[in-house]
């Protein structure tokens, strides 16, 4: 069976089907209202999205630069999945020719000689035309800056396509620029680029995570066990849990995404955590009894705590399956499966292997736990002072930090500074251009479309108000294009105020004229049947909160300036991503809530002592509270990855408590006093707890190497929580137990 899963994995990895998929569609349920609306909009307006390419050069009005730009634009337009490229070398405008003909043609003139370089006179005319047309200002050029220009690339936007076409497109554009070394600098931005970078980051993570976790496993295994046999047992459990889970994913043809790429690393570390207890317990027993008895006693001793630790960890991950974000659901489900298999193999395969491999005892030394002995000083007075301080500080952090914790998503800040896209967004922002196109869609009632006189005039006013919103750098609208057509056709007889009061017939016929002159820019903004109009709003990149504010402002403008029967909504890939915030917050709430209730019930059932239950709850809730508090204090937001911290952390950190408290109860049941029971428990399981913490923390720490910051943050903060939990279990829990239990029981 293992071989079968392994084969499936290999076949999947080398098959043509994509292994990594971060396309938009995978993050939402198919009936998600925003997604459905976005899909419809996307199909109606040609399944395209805008990629922004900003070029920096000595002067955009240098004829040699313009010649290169024309060539670059043409080459980009030839690339697969590119629909249209608009640059100052390709943009068209309406002209009156020398023969008084109305012509819609490129502003960039044809060179008159074979060098392909335009003359100074042509250049001056081109510059005059660019600056004179308000559509181009703050869109392709800026009036006061001559060294920047933007190229707008319209490329395919296939919501469900898992193929790496976006990565290939970005690479192809980069390759084109490699052949123009005299271009000073360029910056590429847009949802295509973000998506491509997500895929690239996931691919990098696959190689880095799996290399690191393998090394960690080897190093940890050797340092801990100092022999090949125990290493083999450890690897057997790892393979027995990770292979089937990953094989199942491969069998179901589920590609990796930014969330599930973390799965093997997490599974490996959690699988090892379980078997470490088994191996250590076996050797401890084997010192005194035969290997048969050692196996028996190991299982007797550990089956309950292992079962409960597996249950809590499975529950911690399973709580993620309530999420409506599919990758989170996948992580929860398959991690749960893997942990279950790890538990089964830890208690079946590993004892068998230990029995087979260890016919003779392993040399084993018992270390006195002097540290614990110190902690459990009968006096205890001097421990109360620091314990109160420690608890006080531990509570201060969450109290101040949690209030600052917020959910906010900004994909441009999701990659570290070494990643090109981060610098690109900063450069575009500094240059004063927009970094993000957002679509404001106006839906007209049936039978009464765009050119209806009343609607047309109210939309003109709506657009004017939209332009003055603080977030808006520029809008691109069909009305702007029609205004240009009107100026050309009715030259000398029209003005802005005349245009603003045109009737339906006039608007329709200007649209027709646009069609006759092959002005396909209009098709990007207005559906042929005129039932929907898209206003492309160019803004700086907005985080999800900023986008929410913008949507509220648009809604307000709609109520003020547009008739009630017109439906207006804001859409776009960034809008969809921003909407995930709600789902992310819900994921965190539900998973935390679920696992908390489960733990409460479990502790009460297991320990039947309110003292132990109180201590157990405290030492498990505090690591998470402190971690979330630290996140709030340092400004880390709740996002798609950090939202997973709560449920997973609780499910993982409780393992140490369960092992420790089970051993305490064991000794208590044998008539030992509380102090001695705690000391003996720590002596017996302390080393295992420390070892398991090291491997689990190490596994999550591997995730901190990701260039996708949410994953890195997830790794860092789960590691922090696990480390704090260890300190609390070994240091604080014994002291609290000592304080809570009356001296008559000691």
């Amino acid at each position: 069976m293992l071989l079968g899963f392994f084969s499936v994995l290999i076949i999947r990895f080398f098959s043509a089907a994509p292994v990594i998929d971060n396309s938009v569609g995978i993050w939402f349920q198919s009936d998600d209202q925003e997604l459905v609306r976005y899909q419809q909009y996307n199909q109606e307006f040609g399944e395209q999205e805008w990629t922004l390419l900003m070029i920096k050069t000595a002067s955009i009005y240098d004829p040699a630069f313009l010649k290169s730009l024309a060539a670059i634009s043409a080459r980009i337009e030839q690339l697969p999945h590119v629909l249209k490229v608009t640059s100052i070398a390709t943009v068209r405008d309406n002209f009156i020719t020398g023969e008084d003909e109305l012509e819609y043609r490129k502003i960039y003139p044809q060179a008159k000689d074979i060098s392909g370089i335009i003359s100074q006179r042509q250049l001056d005319e081109m510059r005059r035309l660019l600056i004179a047309n308000p559509i181009f200002i703050n869109n392709l050029i800026q009036k006061d800056k001559d060294n920047f220009t933007v190229v707008l690339i319209q490329n395919d936007n296939f919501i469900y396509d898992p193929s790496p076409y976006r990565v290939e497109l970005v690479d192809a554009i980069n390759n084109i620029f490699d052949q123009y070394p005299h271009i000073q600098a360029y910056s590429l931005a847009g949802t295509t680029v973000v998506n491509a970078e997500l895929n690239r980051a996931a691919e990098r993570d696959v190689y880095i995570y799996y290399t690191l976790i393998s090394l960690l496993l080897l190093v940890f295994g050797w340092l801990n066990f100092h022999n090949i046999k125990d290493l083999l047992v450890m690897f057997a459990v790892v393979l027995g849990s990770v292979l089937p889970s990953m094989g199942l994913i491969a069998y179901r043809d589920i590609p990796f995404n930014m969330i599930t790429v973390m799965l093997p690393t997490i599974l490996v570390s959690l699988a090892v955590a379980g078997v470490v207890h088994v191996i250590n317990e076996f050797h401890s027993q084997h010192q005194q009894v035969s290997r048969e008895l050692a196996v028996q006693k190991t299982i007797q001793q550990l089956w309950k705590p292992c079962m409960f630790t597996a249950l809590t960890t499975i529950f911690g991950f399973a709580s993620l399956t309530v999420s409506t974000v599919e990758p989170v659901f996948q992580l929860g489900l398959y991690a749960g499966v893997g942990i279950f298999l790890a538990w089964v193999t830890s208690l079946t395969v590993s004892p068998v292997l230990l029995y087979i491999l260890w016919s003779r005892q392993k040399s084993f030394t018992h270390k006195q736990n002097a540290f614990t002995h110190k902690l459990m000083n009968a006096d205890g007075l001097y421990l109360h002072k620091p314990i109160k301080l420690v608890l006080f500080i531990s509570l201060l952090i969450p109290v101040f930090g949690l209030t600052k914790l917020e959910t906010d998503t900004n994909y441009t800040r999701f990659f570290d500074d070494s990643i090109r896209i981060t610098g690109a967004y900063k450069d575009i922002e500094e240059a004063g251009f927009a970094q993000n196109p957002v679509s404001v869609v106006i839906e007209y009632p049936k039978g009464n479309g765009f050119s209806n006189t009343g609607y047309f005039q109210s939309v003109v006013e709506f657009e004017k108000q939209l332009t003055v919103l603080p977030q808006v750098i520029k809008i691109i609208s069909a009305n702007d294009l029609l205004r240009q057509i009107d100026s050309a056709f009715n030259a000398g007889y029209t003005s802005d105020s005349i245009f603003d009061h045109y009737n339906a017939a006039q608007i329709d016929q200007l649209l027709f004229l646009g069609e006759l002159s092959a002005n396909d820019d209009l098709d990007d903004l207005l559906l042929k049947n005129k039932s929907k109009l898209q206003i492309l709003v160019l803004t700086p990149y907005m985080s999800s909160k900023e986008l929410e504010t913008f949507r509220a402002q648009v809604s307000k403008l709609k109520d003020q300036y547009l008739p009630r029967e017109l439906n207006v909504y804001v859409t776009g890939t960034t809008v969809l991503w921003a909407n995930m915030d709600k789902q992310v917050s819900n994921t965190q709430l539900y998973s935390l809530g679920g696992i908390s209730v489960f733990l409460l019930v479990l502790f009460i059932g297991l320990y039947r002592s309110y003292r132990l239950v109180i201590v157990a709850l405290l030492v498990n809730a505090l690591p998470l509270a402190i971690t979330l508090g630290v996140m709030g204090l340092v400004g880390v937001k709740i996002n798609i990855a950090t939202a997973l911290i709560g449920g997973i952390t609780l499910g993982v950190v409780v393992d140490d408590t369960i092992h420790l408290f089970s051993r305490i109860k064991y000794f208590l049941n044998r008539g030992q006093g509380i102090a001695l029971a705690v000391e003996n428990a720590i002596r017996h399981v302390g080393k295992s707890i420390i070892n398991t913490t090291v491997i689990v923390a190490g596994g999550f720490a591997c995730l901190a190497t990701s260039s996708f910051l949410p994953s890195a943050q997830f790794g860092v903060f789960v590691t922090l929580a696990i480390t704090i939990a260890l300190v609390l279990d070994l240091y604080i829990a014994p002291i609290l137990i000592n304080i809570l239990y009356p001296r008559t029981l000691t």
């Binding site: 109305l102 819609y104 043609r105 017939a505 006039q506 016929q509």
Partner: protein, 264 residues
């Protein structure tokens, strides 16, 4: 210097082989030109005709919209023609008219927008641009002028049970949207059954199928259906002609710029 006999014979064989190859090429070119010349001649001398046209434009998603227009065509001396399109449907373009004058490779065009009561001359430089958003470009709708192309006979082909000539046409006029066209010509009637259009990367761009040919005034074959498919963007346009009337007595004044404003 004496030339060896063997070299002389080799040179003669080589020259005659080259000559026959060139001759064969020239004959293919001539044959192609002759065929298309007959196609063009077939259509000459009609004087004028008028027709109603319904154009159904289908985009890549299957959405369809319809335009209806009346077309009037007038032959002018020297091998040119004047053509007037007056749009009737949908309501938003009713009364809009487009007039074109073609003489050889020269072409002029005007548009009338009734809402503004204004006529404007529009450029014909962009022949490859689509006509009213359809898959027919201005270039496709213009009649074939012999001097506009270089021709070459390719082969015989059976097309829908009809023996046809396949003739390659390479535009020699400026700003054509095509590298070449393949005309499938009925070898009996010298009418075009199908046209394949190739872009400047030599990729097949569009195919036009001309169907439901009818004979008018015992002389002129006219297809009632023209079906253009764009293979690259998956869009289609169907043009259906009806109420075709020849020799209505149209004159230059009826298809002049001043007449545009009166067009209904």
């Amino acid at each position: 210097m004496r030339v060896p006999i063997s070299s002389f014979i080799t040179a003669c064989v080589f020259v005659s082989w080259i000559s026959s190859a060139i001759a064969e090429e020239l004959s293919l070119d001539t044959k192609g030109r002759d065929i298309m010349s007959k196609v063009i001649e077939r259509d000459n001398g009609f004087e004028d005709f008028s027709a109603d046209v319904e154009m159904s434009i289908v985009d890549e998603n299957g959405s369809t919209w319809v335009r209806r227009m009346q077309v009037s065509d007038l032959e002018i001396g020297g091998g040119g023609e004047k053509r007037l399109f007056v749009f009737h449907y949908p309501k938003d373009v009713k009364g809009t008219a487009v007039l074109s004058h073609t003489q050889g490779i020269e072409e002029k065009q005007w548009i009338f927008l009734p809402a503004f009561k204004r006529v404007r001359r529009i450029s014909t430089a962009n022949k490859s641009s689509p006509f009213v958003g359809s898959e027919f470009s201005y270039e496709d709708l213009a009649s074939i002028e012999l001097e506009k192309y270089r021709y070459r006979y390719v082969k015989m082909e059976n097309y829908s049970g009809i023996e046809c000539y396949v003739v390659e046409m390479q535009p020699i006029y400026k700003n054509s949207g095509y590298a070449k066209q393949l005309a499938i010509v009925d070898s009996t009637e010298f009418i075009v059954r199908r046209m394949d259009y190739f872009d400047h990367e030599d990729e097949l761009l569009k195919t036009l199928e001309l169907e439901d040919y009818q004979l008018f005034i015992d002389q002129y074959w006219r297809p009632l259906k023209l079906h253009m498919v764009n293979h690259q963007n998956r869009r289609k346009t169907l043009m259906e002609w009806s109420d075709i009337k020849y020799r209505n007595g149209l004159s230059d004044n009826d298809l002049s710029v001043t007449a545009l404003k009166r067009a209904r």
